[in-house]
Subunit: 349 residues, 2 copies
């Protein structure tokens, strides 16, 4: 074609086929091959062209796969268009004064090989490269800020308190448990397999851990692990677990409501019956979003980078190879296939 | 009988017949006639003998009528023994250095004509008698402190915010609405009859009010009264109303969980389905008990007494005559028979 872009390259993309109800499936997404110009279109100001390196698979993306009738905190995906979400990328072109070719960034990008980003305010430049680059999709990225803000800003933890974390081996949970230990709390986590439970105990230093799938009675399980009750619950799953936790909270307990993954694929969320516990026990339940706390990011880095380098903070990742594996990796979050932070390395082996 | 107490007097008492399940009935209580000595038993230190003047009927008493299997914030009543709860009384005898005959007090006493109180720490001396004495069972007593602490300490209200109060015409609700107006909020209340709705608008100065019993769809009703959403919900009823409120909360909304009267008589509390709203909207839900805030009582009096005297705060009471009427008055709370603060004047006409 006349005027065709000499610098156009292949751009594999993960698109949403259609809105999803119930559990998402790999077949709800397509991997399509498109092309993209490596030249930023003329006249595009403040635009950045990214070559994506790692894509982050995050549970909240499920909400964006549904046609939403009530406005949510983030817009739904568009069927036929690539998904977007957190990732780690290299700048290959920029008309924005803050970014130049070669910069490494993390933040909002597309589920594709290259992304043209017109709102680079959602990108953060990576300054420290003496740690694994993939960590910027996890411990040094959004999940890290989630665990940090959720635990330190919402839970008001004190030494000696009893902390319970659900989905404890995941991207966020493994960090919350380690933060709780750093504060001197007693921390118990739950997860969905023996392998994950072992990880909690042996790698992340939890004081106790159990496989919730083997507990027919969550209330009884919590009473076993918390005979004195729970001061802090870091809520990742919702539903029946929250109901059982409410029965086991202590006076003036705090529940940081981070997410409720057990509810994301249900037509109608389960009912929570024990909220009256909130009154007599003076419980504070508070929802939060990591994005509200990015002003604390450099403070967080100052704290966490030395811990990582000294080996005092561990981070387990589950790395899927190649952008083609992104649909399966994303879907796997909802059956607990991931062990640790699920991410995708765009250029697979 | 030899040695019988010359100073013994009749003491009518309201006793619990048996533990209750489901809605309480008048017949779950008995009015029995006993007798009591007007002399404090020898050797009883720090004891106060009260002649009860007003008894307060409070929804939380329902919980104490059930045999509790899980420890609650207050012990169950004993079948065969008189109920106890808040009231206003005159000291007729005292071996406690802080109280003397003739003092007026409010606080924890018995559902009976006379009470021998061995823990007078739960009594507060009445210093201001230029307001109706019955107010110490309401606006100047526990419900007053509930509304004050719940609204000012838990809700963090700001001028211009949208406030919703359920059970809005009751002992607590009518005060919350007026406090909200004093701060400059926009306040809407719900109640269970036309008479109560009229009271909210004409007497207490609510900006809007509706009869929830005539609303088949609470979500739709709230959308009508709060097209911009709700910043503050003062939660008195729980259940379906809470579920609808969650859908209508605004970003960073606060829910003061005062009580959930719609749930107190159910075998199993209803499920609340919309808690995931707490995350995206960063909602804070917090339970509280008035009793934790009594250190603010004198500050509260300094604020409220002038308002009462100037007529800037209204208080509607529903007065049942005679201790014999206490069972019906108490039970009536759960069908909304009371209009305003329900109390019993012990010596009826
Ligand atoms: N508020 C925020 O800003 C924010 C930010 C990030 C994440 N979040 C939330 O935090 C939670 C954890 O996210 P993450 O990124 O750390 O994910 P993750 O834990 O790494 O992965 C999801 C895990 O959830 C567990 N899970 C899936 N279905 C479940 C069910 N029905 N019941 C119980 N557990 C189930 C699975 O582990 P098991 O094998 O243990 O079942 C799965 O591995 C999610 O609710 C997410 O939405 C919130
Ligand atoms: N946390 C604390 O320290 C504390 C202290 C005091 C009170 N409270 C709580 O605050 C709330 C109000 O107490 P209050 O003393 O002010 O009582 P109140 O409102 O004076 O009396 C109870 C009222 O509740 C309403 N009600 C009854 N059943 C209901 C149902 N199924 N659904 C909706 N409304 C119902 C009725 O009014 P309608 O005609 O409007 O239905 C009734 O008049 C209660 O939940 C109570 O437990 C908490």
């Amino acid at each position: 074609m006349a005027g065709a872009d000499q610098e156009a390259v292949r751009n594999k993309q993960v698109t949403l086929k259609h809105y999803v109800s119930g559990f998402p499936k790999e077949s709800d997404m397509s991997v399509v091959t498109s092309s993209i110009s490596l030249k930023i279109p003329q006249g595009s100001k403040d635009t950045v062209l990214l070559k994506n390196i790692y894509l982050s698979c995050d549970p909240y993306m499920r909400g964006r796969m549904s046609k939403s009738d009530s406005p949510s905190f983030v817009a739904p995906f568009q069927p036929g268009s690539p998904l977007n979400g957190y990732g780690v990328a290299k700048v290959v072109g920029s008309t924005h004064p803050n970014y130049e070719k070669g910069d490494l960034v993390w933040g909002f990008t597309g589920y594709e090989e290259y992304s043209l980003v017109t709102s680079p305010e959602l990108l953060i430049k990576i300054q420290h490269t003496d740690v694994p680059l993939s960590y910027y999709s996890g411990i040094l990225g959004m999940p890290g800020m989630t665990a940090y803000a959720g635990f330190h800003e919402i839970c008001s933890p004190k030494k000696g308190e009893y902390v319970y974390v659900s989905a404890a081996s995941g991207a966020v949970g493994q960090l919350v448990g380690q933060f709780a230990k750093l504060v001197g709390c007693y921390v118990v986590g739950s997860a969905g397999s023996k392998e994950k439970v072992d990880l909690l105990m042996s790698k992340f230093g939890f004081d106790g851990a159990f496989n919730y799938k083997e507990e027919p009675d969550f209330d009884a399980a919590l009473k076993r692990y918390f005979p004195e009750g729970i001061d802090i619950y870091f809520e990742n799953v919702g539903g029946k677990m929250l109901d059982a936790v409410l029965l086991n909270m202590r006076l003036r307990g705090r529940i940081a409501v981070c997410g409720m993954i057990s509810q994301y694929n249900l037509e109608k969320p389960e009912g929570v019956h024990n909220l009256m516990q909130v009154v007599g026990k003076r419980i504070r339940m508070e929802g939060f979003l990591a994005g509200d706390y990015y002003h604390l990011y450099s403070k967080y880095l100052d704290m966490i980078l030395p811990f990582i380098k000294e080996g005092r903070m561990k981070y387990v990742e589950d790395v899927a190879e190649g952008i083609e594996s992104a649909p399966a990796a994303l879907v796997g979050l909802f059956s607990g296939k991931n062990v640790g932070k699920q991410l995708v390395v765009v250029d697979g082996k």
